[in-house]
Assembly symmetry: C2
Homo-oligomer: 354 residues x 2
Amino acid sequence: MNTTMQKISIEKVKTSKIDQVDFDNLDFGSVFTDHMLVCDYKNGAWETPKIIPYQPISLEPSAKIFHYGQSIFEGMKAYKDTENKIWFFRPLDNHRRLNISAKRMAIPEIPEAFFMEGLKALVKLDEKWIPQKDGSSLYIRPFIFASGKGFHASPADEYKFIICLAPSGSYFSGKVKVLIEEKYSRSANGGVGYAKAGGNYAGQFYPTQLAAQKGYSQVIWTDDNNHEYIEEAGAMNIFVRIGDTLITGPTSDRILDGITRKSILQIAEDEGIPTEVRKITVSEVVEAAKNGSLKEMFGAGTAAVVSPISTFGFRDVDYDLPELAESYATRLKKRITDIQFNRAEDPFGWRYGL
Amino acid sequence: MNTTMQKISIEKVKTSKIDQVDFDNLDFGSVFTDHMLVCDYKNGAWETPKIIPYQPISLEPSAKIFHYGQSIFEGMKAYKDTENKIWFFRPLDNHRRLNISAKRMAIPEIPEAFFMEGLKALVKLDEKWIPQKDGSSLYIRPFIFASGKGFHASPADEYKFIICLAPSGSYFSGKVKVLIEEKYSRSANGGVGYAKAGGNYAGQFYPTQLAAQKGYSQVIWTDDNNHEYIEEAGAMNIFVRIGDTLITGPTSDRILDGITRKSILQIAEDEGIPTEVRKITVSEVVEAAKNGSLKEMFGAGTAAVVSPISTFGFRDVDYDLPELAESYATRLKKRITDIQFNRAEDPFGWRYGL
Ligand SMILES: Cc1ncc(COP(=O)(O)O)c(C=O)c1O
Ligand SMILES: Cc1ncc(COP(=O)(O)O)c(C=O)c1O
């Protein structure tokens, strides 16, 4: 893998479109900044990334992305502190995970320098776009897809690595009601569930629509074999608090190794919260809900940060979670966002200054 | 669903590129004809399809196809008989399956008229591109992908339905050696394996590369639970002949309902070949190979037609299949291609004249 890189070229927009954006009313991921980073893989090597004005991409109709779903992505955020200094959160972990996804999807891995230098140059250039309103952030979307052509079902010979930036409001609006799924599945043993591969997400849309028709905003996936174990949600790992113990499932080849998940686990341990990483059965959660020992459930992910679950549905019964004055979710969310926004010490060394 | 349609508009190329094509040396799916059909889904409806010169597609970087793998496709062929009449093979089944895939991937279904009228108009316009050399054919690729934009992991609001045509040589060159896979899986119970969804294919590339390093050209997938049952190959359903009985696995939510598979089954029954549709265990196939009762294995699919398997590998042992003077594969392949090319009677009503 060629890891040396020439200087990233920058072509700036003539006129910024930032003035057209209402930063007080941002949706999630629907407004994009002035620039994007593009890096092509051709003839067996990644070329030098370049920054260009945000613009459409032109592809052959036979580009493999359209036919064989050969694509991966990451989700990150940039944070601005009160002194206007910019921070990333564990960005090297996103780079590492992108390459784990790349390997599984037969996509050439991207060298660390290309990723990190590209990321930094792009965010620096568009730093005015980082929202400072509470709850908003600059969402960062690095992605790689197969641009090489042909109808043979085999890996492409050309790829594009792109980073786009989207100033965003919060991922969920309102309470999060989830449905524990027993018919459909997200991933297979020996499959690609642990990769941030495009196809993993499209496969969730239909079951999630069915759940939405019943009033749920998210599906909680279970194993595809007996639907016995709680796995994760569409874009969040799941935590359950039974009594005073905070529990999350182990990662596996079916479950994404979330950066928020592992950070929350470490913070909880640091705070003296008893934690367990072990398989969680659906039946123990239902049982705990019935006997009152189920105190909290929440999702954890970059987009959704820490999102408390208000209700879960299982076999046509809804189980409401109590509203606690002092929840783990609130405490852990405050601690992680304080680190992310440089409002508190970072004993773990997770902050990465631009 | 709006099923009435206005007349398809046709914009022809100024100069055909057909003279640049070497029809005697065609790869599979790497040369494309002069025109393509494009149909946009916007504001909740499919617009009238149009035929335009084959050309690149321009998309926003946030188009959901790049991020969430929301895409499906079909694979068909057009055949020309000795009197230059053009035939499709069970095209309505491809349309029906495209809509089954669409539903699972939360993509709006395409009305039959849009699909069939589009297909016919396009193939008629580019009919000179149908190769007439034995073993070659015009491969037809209808596909739909999410062109709507945004980083929210939810279905797109805009889609493109496209048909491209590729005059093609045979899918496999040389003998087909397959590896029975025990670590990786193609699909989950309750997943999307029965859909022709893009992501199902990219997920196979890496395990197939690993198999190729050991000298196998295809992987035979088994169930993701115990890897106990033979399922299918990358783009073919699998048939096994033990003694005189032809066996293929039942379709399920993990296995594509192949049109070649069901046609081969019906032809075999018509020919008086004993057939069974039932789960096939890996161990019975290995056992049959050892005791000599395993006579044949072959794959069946539109691209690969009927492809005899010469060897299968399992747990580091290679099992060679005998070379039979009178194989079912040869007999069934002749019968199905004779029907497709209008060289024989079609008692099943499968041929569809243009
Ligand atoms: C399937 C899935 N699980 C979990 C997560 C959470 O991971 P992270 O905390 O790294 O964002 C994500 C999203 O990012 C995801 O897509
Ligand atoms: C996974 C898979 N199985 C089987 C087949 C064979 O189906 P058909 O005979 O309809 O082409 C295909 C390809 O078309 C396929 O992609």
